[in-house]
């Protein structure tokens, strides 16, 4: 077992490319499921290395990365890499054995949450975390009724596809919304059911929360109750939606009054992306505290690790079922070492403060574009989670999907990676690694300024 490693040679060229791009594409077509889509399908990107906020293709071109929120503290951060490398060589086993990495990380993680959220379960992905959260809510409330938001996406496993309108709205009847899933309107004050322009001076958080209350009341009429309300603390797939400040407070009150639990999905938006707080739900006030929080993507900076954090009471109900929860890789020493290193970097490099400062700087830059370009209908966001809503008409707010797609294509030519999202795919979605800096922000704003000007001059663009 101690043979030298030259037993296993691996051919990799200096640019980390092993086969020509055309062969990569043909092998992918042959052996990888077509349901797994590529970015820029017509001319996909082959990325061979990455560092900080930059990715590099096989030609050595440097791309500014505004999409990989997963590589939270920067691609291949040396401290995170070293922590993983060191632990891999020592031990990687399951959590049926005691290990210090697991318990020390659990303790450290729990410290970032309000006091009542004190118990953690470690898993491998946001999907596993959200599925486990649903299992816990069922065990605690004995109800399988789930209230979810319009356009929500909570993961790829069966139980989560059933509560992810983002996915099943386009699905065949066979897989449509099950009876136990109840969809509340997304509290989007710009494009949602209740809009700021129609309710001047009103607290739309309260208005939107009434719809959740109604769902609870309808369930009660049928002798049922909600098992849980689940929502991202900021809605990502819905088009970078920031809720009215009072929304979650009112909703949590309604759901709890009806006997349900409140789950905050922080898989996309957690770990300090909002700048001011570790967790996005905390931006709505210290009294807004979920019963279960799920975390993932940024947690391991790309390494598969995720978790569920909950109260002693909910954890006790789950243990009370008598069923062991065993997750083969969940909480293994390597995953915990990496996750802890990510927290080291967030703290030592003051990335939350950085996210707040650079996020504010970038947002101001985008808001300046709004003064200049009619097409920019809305600029919204918090910290390094920003959205820019492109419209054909500022009054009707008609989404301008083609323009958003044109921006992404032109940005790629300018070597900036950006995504769009939302029900109309017209929202430019910014969620870069947190190490994105002010000079990167200037480049993004200036490039966007130019591209929006191009669009304005293309008289035939509006259709």
């Amino acid at each position: 077992m101690d043979k030298p490693d030259n037993l296993h040679p691996r051919a990799t060229s200096a640019n980390h490319e092993q086969i020509p791009r055309s062969e990569t594409i043909s092998l992918r077509e042959k052996h990888v499921g077509k349901s797994c889509k590529l970015f820029f399908k017509a001319d996909p990107l082959k990325i061979v290395r990455a560092q900080g906020q930059y990715m590099y293709n096989e030609m050595g071109e440097e791309l500014l990365d505004c999409i990989n929120n997963v590589c939270h503290v920067g691609h291949c951060h040396p401290h995170v890499v070293k922590s993983g490398q060191d632990q891999m060589a020592i031990l990687n086993t399951n959590n049926r054995f005691l290990h210090d990495n697991l318990v020390l990380y659990a303790e450290r993680l729990i410290k970032t949450f309000p006091e009542r959220l004190s118990v953690a379960f470690f898993v491998n992905s946001g999907s596993e975390a959200n599925d486990l959260a649903l299992r816990m809510a069922r065990a605690h409330t004995k109800s399988r009724e789930v209230i979810t938001l319009e356009h929500a996406y909570h993961g790829h496993v069966i139980s989560l596809m059933e509560i992810s309108p983002y996915k099943f709205k386009n699905q065949s009847q066979d897989d449509a919304c099950p009876d136990q899933t109840h969809i509340a309107p997304v509290p989007d004050v710009y494009r949602g059911k209740y809009r700021d322009q129609d309710y001047p001076g009103q607290d739309l958080g309260e208005v939107y929360a009434e719809d959740v209350k109604e769902i609870c009341e309808k369930l009660a009429e049928q002798g049922k109750k909600p098992g849980c309300f689940i929502a991202e603390s900021l809605q990502s797939c819905g088009g970078q939606i920031i809720y009215p400040n009072s929304y979650l407070r009112h909703v949590y009150n309604h759901v709890r009054a009806a006997g349900g639990l409140c789950i905050a999905d922080e898989v996309q938006v957690g770990f300090g992306r909002v700048g001011t707080n570790w967790w996005a739900f905390q931006t709505y006030g210290n009294d807004v505290i979920p019963d279960i929080v799920t975390i993932g993507k940024p947690m391991g900076n790309g390494h598969p690790v995720a978790a569920v954090v909950t109260t002693e009471e909910v954890a006790a109900s789950f243990a009370g079922t008598g069923i062991e929860y065993f997750n083969t890789y969940g909480g293994n020493p390597v995953s915990c070492s990496i996750a802890s290193a990510v927290m080291d970097v967030i703290e030592d490099e003051k990335l939350m403060e950085h996210a707040e400062e650079v996020g504010r700087y970038l947002k101001r830059g985008l808001e300046r574009l709004m003064l200049k370009h009619e097409i920019v209908g809305d600029v919204r966001g918090v910290g390094m989670f920003l959205g820019l809503d492109l419209v054909k008409d500022r009054t009707t707010r008609e989404p301008f999907t083609a323009a958003a797609q044109h921006v992404l294509t032109r940005f790629r030519e300018e070597r900036i990676l950006l995504q769009s999202d939302g029900p109309y795919n017209n929202v430019l979605k910014f969620k870069s690694p947190l190490v994105f800096n002010k000079s990167n922000a200037d480049r993004l704003v200036n490039t966007l300024d130019e591209v929006l000007e191009e669009i304005r001059l293309m008289s035939n663009f509006i259709d």
Copy 2:
């Protein structure tokens, strides 16, 4: 971002212990869900490092590992470790970008399967793989009816708990077997519904398969059909069950005739553990070919990586739903690099031949104990997947659970880690890393000989 790593110091003593054992235990009790159980609850093991087939506790004691099938090619195998370490430092991103590691590993993996199984989907765990397999079967057959085996365990997410009688047999009514789950008897010729002693000379594979046929017929009477039949190719949690040779062939024929797909769960038993073949289903004949195969645990030697392998037709049906399948970490360059290194080691170190040879040697040793100790009711298995069924009476085959538990406790004192399983928890379950050698086998057999002799002399033990 290029600051030296001494910015982030980490206190680890030479023995890799960071806090005293008592503190590890108290932090775990405080912050980790009680549903996550420890081995040897009364006096759990703290493992600080591992190498090959050995684990080491905080006192430096060396334990022979007969349970960690996940660390397939040996704990911390240097080539696997180096592959992970190297790739982590270069790039770790998602599969919406082209990457050579993904397609080269897919091609290499697919070569180990019969020709029609040519498309792969990469995920993070066996649970994600089995859940995805169910989604595919639903998409392809438009049926959600699932035939599963008694005592089966397929994973911890909701959809799989519903087809895992190993778990829900002990569950409250609320979470009991759903209508769409149909349980067939496990084809266990030693302790199952049809036993070799009662059907001398008969092909029990055919007999057991008839029960699956009956389920298909009952579904047909209700105007339904099976979406899929899912089974491990060797049943692990059921007590190391090896099926009669013709069983899967007959079952697959029945299920396909009824319009269903056949899923082989190779998460526990794949990657050459059986010695003669890469996949355990292949031990039943070249004509026994599933429609979907799920793989996991040993795939990454402890790193979270798993996959679904299927036919072009099934993959096309799944793509035909129009729903993108995106798995954040699935098929990332680090996971693929590690998985490919595991295959390097299996091939270069001829671990399949080794598993066959040492597995046969160990099995012969255990069979010799059977001649000497009445308590050994059955020795079964293939390659490095073995089970020893302890009984109070060889004729009635009454399970001797207390004896199995005593063996585990004594083995731990003798620094050998072994597990028990099966519906009566009386089956000693051997599934060590494949690098387990003949001298380890001698030690296991000799120690077991001594402990079984102790049990024989404890006249008060039988109760």
